[in-house]
Symmetry: C2
Subunit: 361 residues, 2 copies
């Protein structure tokens, strides 16, 4: 009834007629072992069906060759590209991935990190859902190297890989301007949120560059219903359709835009695809042509497929690259002498890709 306890290094060493030390040295390579003994050990290993015990190894060497990845819950799957790339990058380093979603409640976030640390992960990659819940969690992780990755990046001293907000908004505003946009609003970005505030600033800057008027940051929940609400608000505020000619359709007469506080707005940048969908649907139902009268685009795609044929013009996050970069930074930090957090936090920013859809010209 013994649990068949598989062969250990001791068995291998005995079988090969060498000491455990030698057997271990063969396993880890990189050491001076004569060809003959090395062969003997390898033979013993296959003969006995020996399997390395990573647990014992980790206990002794104080390295688990494992990194923890903490993701926000309820992300409807658009993060799976991140998971996959992190996993692949770790594979290449011979490390394993421990995955955990940060629970919603209070400081459960800290508990999540705590759990990872007691598992003795060598490092942590955190995709922080929001500022408040994450600060403490990241602080709690201080004992191992940490890199933040994703849309939201929070100060502190950790390495991070995020999005290049200016390149992102330039791409989007540029495309809308090329389509004839002269005056735009954002929908669903709240100036209260630090990350959103940065994005709004970036949009504003891009507008100046392109000679587009930035009218207003319309706040709305960052979900479909938020887009719907924003559409209704827009329609109400609009006293009447004005005159003007759309940039495409040679000569067709369509309203120039939608009224928002004296401005004929002809473009909207939404926080994400869901918001954009809500906005577009309701506007069209009410007779506003999209993209004819108003072009709509989104800052964050939540879809996955490559779909050549998209409804909403959007920015695709470079998740695969972000995952790779995050792992690279982490491995690097692990290398530099016992994470003596010297040198300060490194920050890598990547640019998204523009996916043209039918909601813009």
């Amino acid at each position: 009834m013994t649990p068949v306890a598989g062969p250990t290094l001791v068995d291998v060493a005995r079988e090969a007629g060498v000491s455990i030390a030698t057997a271990s040295r063969v396993l880890s390579g990189a050491q001076h072992v004569s060809e003959s003994r090395s062969r003997a050990v390898r033979k013993a290993i296959t003969d006995l069906g020996y399997r390395h015990n990573a647990v014992a190894s980790a206990l002794r060497s104080q390295r688990t060759e494992t990194v923890g990845l903490i993701l926000p819950r309820y992300t409807t799957g658009f993060l799976s590209a991140l998971i996959e790339s992190v996993s692949a990058a770790l594979d290449d380093e011979g490390m394993s991935l421990v995955l955990r979603y940060s629970a919603d409640g209070d400081d459960h976030d800290v508990a999540t990190v705590e759990s990872m640390l007691s598992r003795r992960v060598d490092g942590l990659i955190i995709c922080p859902p929001s500022e408040d819940v994450s600060r403490d969690a990241i602080a709690a992780a201080a004992r191992v190297p940490v890199v933040q990755v994703g849309r939201h990046i929070f100060g502190d001293g950790t390495d991070s890989v995020g999005l290049d907000d200016h390149r992102a908004t330039d791409l989007l505003v540029g495309s809308l301007a090329d389509g004839g946009a002269r005056s735009l609003v954002t929908v669903g970005l709240s100036p209260g949120d630090p990350a959103d505030a940065r994005r709004i600033a970036a949009v504003r800057a891009s507008c100046e560059l392109r000679d587009v008027t930035f009218v207003e940051a319309i706040t709305a929940d960052a979900v479909l219903a938020g887009g719907v609400a924003a559409a209704n608000a827009l329609l109400e505020g609009s006293t009447s359709s004005r005159e003007g000619t759309a940039a495409t359709g040679a000569g067709r007469d369509v309203p120039r835009g939608v009224d928002v506080e004296q401005h004929a707005v002809d473009a909207a940048i939404c926080a994400n695809d869901d918001v954009a969908h809500g906005l577009v649907t309701v506007l069209r139902l009410n007779g506003v042509a999209v993209p004819g009268t108003l072009q709509v685009a989104s800052l964050l795609d939540v879809s996955l497929g490559e779909g050549d044929d998209r409804e909403i013009t959007t920015l695709r996050h470079p998740w695969p690259a972000m995952g790779r970069e995050a792992v690279r930074l982490l491995i690097d930090a692990l290398g530099s002498a016992a994470h003596a957090d010297a040198g300060g936090a490194r920050r890598v920013t990547l640019a998204p890709r523009l996916l043209k859809g039918r909601s813009s010209r």
Copy 2:
């Protein structure tokens, strides 16, 4: 320069003035320890900022409280619901999830399992991508409890949770029949693949039940291009539109279906949403009304959002429930005396949910 090696149980015991054994017993609960010492130990723990070392614990107790999840690569994220539910279920059991994607190459699959085993996971949940690559891998895993989960389930002696093919096809065929379908084909299911063969059989059975004629299983790659190809094939095969009246629209005259070997086919069940999209798009471009002339539905949704408003009628996999069930089975197997694989493999099947789209009536 010492790596700050955090406090250990020895330190805690000393601080609390008890033996390590007692300290350990307090940690694991469940043992007889006097209230006073228990309190002293807990105080020492918080005072010292002690953190349990799961690695040492695992080495001694021969249990890592960890399960491995192996997923097929390139799944464009529709498996994230599975990951999330597995993770949540494991959390509830106080266990951790280590994730790994099975590499594509030859027997890299076996290497993946091997890696998990050397990490000493307590159990394995495998989502097998296809029959050939998975058999060996699953065999290699024999040393720990394994449960398979997902669309494809392969014999062997492992527990598994899969889809109830008959409930699934009944749902779909039923819906199409209610919409007036009398004669249907499948697209993208290949009779060569065992799992697909089962599905085709299930469709056939459902058709008999509903008095619908099952015409043919049109093979095609299970991607968008496959749907496009199938559409062209259908159009070619169709000599001319026939007459007839659609079940809906009172009296409107639309062709009854598309010709396939003497049959007026009026419904198609595709292997997945991508195939269906390809099919629908091309058919509509060529003037075939969908769902007017031909209803289209898909056996597998690859989308994520709840989207009330879908193009393709499809079956939503109950991933969350599947994840929970898989964990339940695994925990159960871990409980039953050292996985003495007695009792034979258990198989749980779950039913998908029908999501109505505009491609069917």
